[in-house]
Subunit: 428 residues, 2 copies
Amino acid sequence: MASYQDLSTPQLQSMLSDLRAQYAEFQKKGLKLDMSRGKPAADQLDLSMPLFDVLNSSSDMNTSDGFDIRNYGVVDGVMDAKRLFGELMGVSTEEIILLGSSSLALMYDVVVRAMVHGVLGSPKAWGKYDKIKFLCPVPGYDRHFAISESLGIEMIPVEMTETGPDMDAVEKLVSEDETIKGIWCIPKYSNPQGITYSDETVRRFANLNPAAPDFRIFWDNAYCIHDLYDEHDELLDLFAELKKTGRANMLFMFASTSKVTFPGSGVAMMIATKENLDFVRKDISIQTIGPDKTNQIRHVRFLKDVDSIYEHMKKHAALLRPKFETVLEALDKNLGGTGIATWTKPRGGYFVALKTMEGCAKRVISLCKEAGVVMTAAGATHPYGIDPKDEDIRIAPTYPVIGELKLAGELFCLCVKLASIEKILQTR
Amino acid sequence: MASYQDLSTPQLQSMLSDLRAQYAEFQKKGLKLDMSRGKPAADQLDLSMPLFDVLNSSSDMNTSDGFDIRNYGVVDGVMDAKRLFGELMGVSTEEIILLGSSSLALMYDVVVRAMVHGVLGSPKAWGKYDKIKFLCPVPGYDRHFAISESLGIEMIPVEMTETGPDMDAVEKLVSEDETIKGIWCIPKYSNPQGITYSDETVRRFANLNPAAPDFRIFWDNAYCIHDLYDEHDELLDLFAELKKTGRANMLFMFASTSKVTFPGSGVAMMIATKENLDFVRKDISIQTIGPDKTNQIRHVRFLKDVDSIYEHMKKHAALLRPKFETVLEALDKNLGGTGIATWTKPRGGYFVALKTMEGCAKRVISLCKEAGVVMTAAGATHPYGIDPKDEDIRIAPTYPVIGELKLAGELFCLCVKLASIEKILQTR
């Protein structure tokens, strides 16, 4: 296909009127699709239904170390679950705590308490600075940015490359400014690109020399086992690398079973050195008497062991693969060679990221919406919701069924073409 | 029985050596009992076992308003649960939110976020003051005090009377000092006394004129339906009273099903005006995508309606009543008329409070411990763990079985006698 920029104005005008007619047809279909969030679909949720059979009124209600899971106690997670998820994440039971269902809530709570108490080694509470800052690889995850914004933490964007954040920028920034206290990372199958940080990127993280003695890498390993293909990305183990460089306290890792079993009813985990966790645990033991141990045991008995967790994830992959492929085929077929968009081809995770021509993303999203397909808001993948080039779009293919996705994919490409031709014509 | 103070020194000395011999016998028994915390016993937990049968792999997984409880969403609780618990607490579904299992965590989170953001109507974030203060009725609940202490909130003790906190003191203090931002209350069957605030006390709360425009009453209604007898205490509805006086935003009420179904796996609730909750909800929607909706629906389908909740609580009462009576009989029989202790006789809740002679509480707790019975630490019911008169003891009769309680009650009374006679002899 010819690059749109190379086409003559009359050619583009003629295409535009064709596209507008097609768009009008789409509007008549009365679509009502939501591709805005990374939600599992109902058939994925069905995979974990046996979890609800694990505990019934005649079940053994004790942990293997003899705690009644129905009563108070065990402030940071039952040992059976620490053992299973510790093994999955490659850490010891002293390096993991399990609290609630939402890793987002764990992250929020860690940061809000750091505002009041600092973290291990903080010269003072983060809230006592006039201003503290977090580095934000962009495009990135809107809910990370929302935590920073809500707590008044200034966000400094850092470009994402194909191998992770621009590490030259990261190294320079953290070494110069002791008010930079953290960086938000989704290191495997990043949200929204599906990029996995390269070994070199991870090693550079392990060798950071931040000016702040209490700088933390917020390593949101949300998609650590969420591969789409047998041939999948491998993320180098940052915790192990940090231990080699003597910087292990720099890491706060997070994960959950939200997209393994059930969002909202899974098990959330935080991984860090025992020293870091001891510091965090002081606050947690003030906040609560303990998490829902019944749900942790439900997960241990349902998921059984690490091998069966990976088997379970293959069933998710089998359902998700065709959805990703449907979207990528639509993009290839409709936008390949047009020069008006580039996009990622992830081997895992929950998203595809697409870059439009500069100044087109908002228009694309708005066109989609007016034809009944809700996409993630333009700008959402940038701090403060502001994408300076108005070019980044996050596509979430997981929730709709394939038939819907085909339609939505066609419509989306149509909207990208429409917005791009409008833009090209405006600038001629 | 003669008052110990009236006995001669030789009489007391002779009693002391008898008591020491009895104590030595107790030590030989090798008791291992825990009366330190307000934990339900296993037979109470058994009452709710059918809760685990509510959801299985063939259950309907939708709320009555059509949300899939297995997926993301519904940030502050499912409507079915808001309806049930709203009715139970006498509030509308707009005046209640349901988050997690722990009302303690809800309280902690509200206060920690107030440190960073203030509450509705705050002139500035609570953390921006040099010092803010909370009033603490004493003796009171150690975990409330721990939240204040952990967040650097100065605690001002206020005496508890038989009708609730000393309201003269409360009224005076809050009207004079705008850095007093809150008061911790357990208004029905208070921890540790089991006192229910009188109608007059509640009305005086409803007419408070705090200097701080953002003063909040933390109304921890932990034992709102936890009656031991059909003839039970009635707590006047503070929310309704505050609505009459135009001060409804002054209330943050908390409750949970921790002692209705399962501690750690129950449903926690916060009750306040819609305006207050809208303010809180802004932060909650940054913190999390939503609570465990499966557990909320489990509770709705198990508890069914308000009448059956009260029926369920009668089963708890039937198990708890004999335990309270065992302890109270031991106190009456052994300490009645001795003049060395006074205690409460609650009609609900989880505790009995006992006052020793001044300077004896620590010694009693330590004697109990050395004979194998762990009681709540002396001082725990006071801010900073310091009981200036060293006289307050919290007795938690709910967890041990009756046979153990009889033994523990005898031992406890023996220790009170020992410590008191030692004290009397020292001061002669």
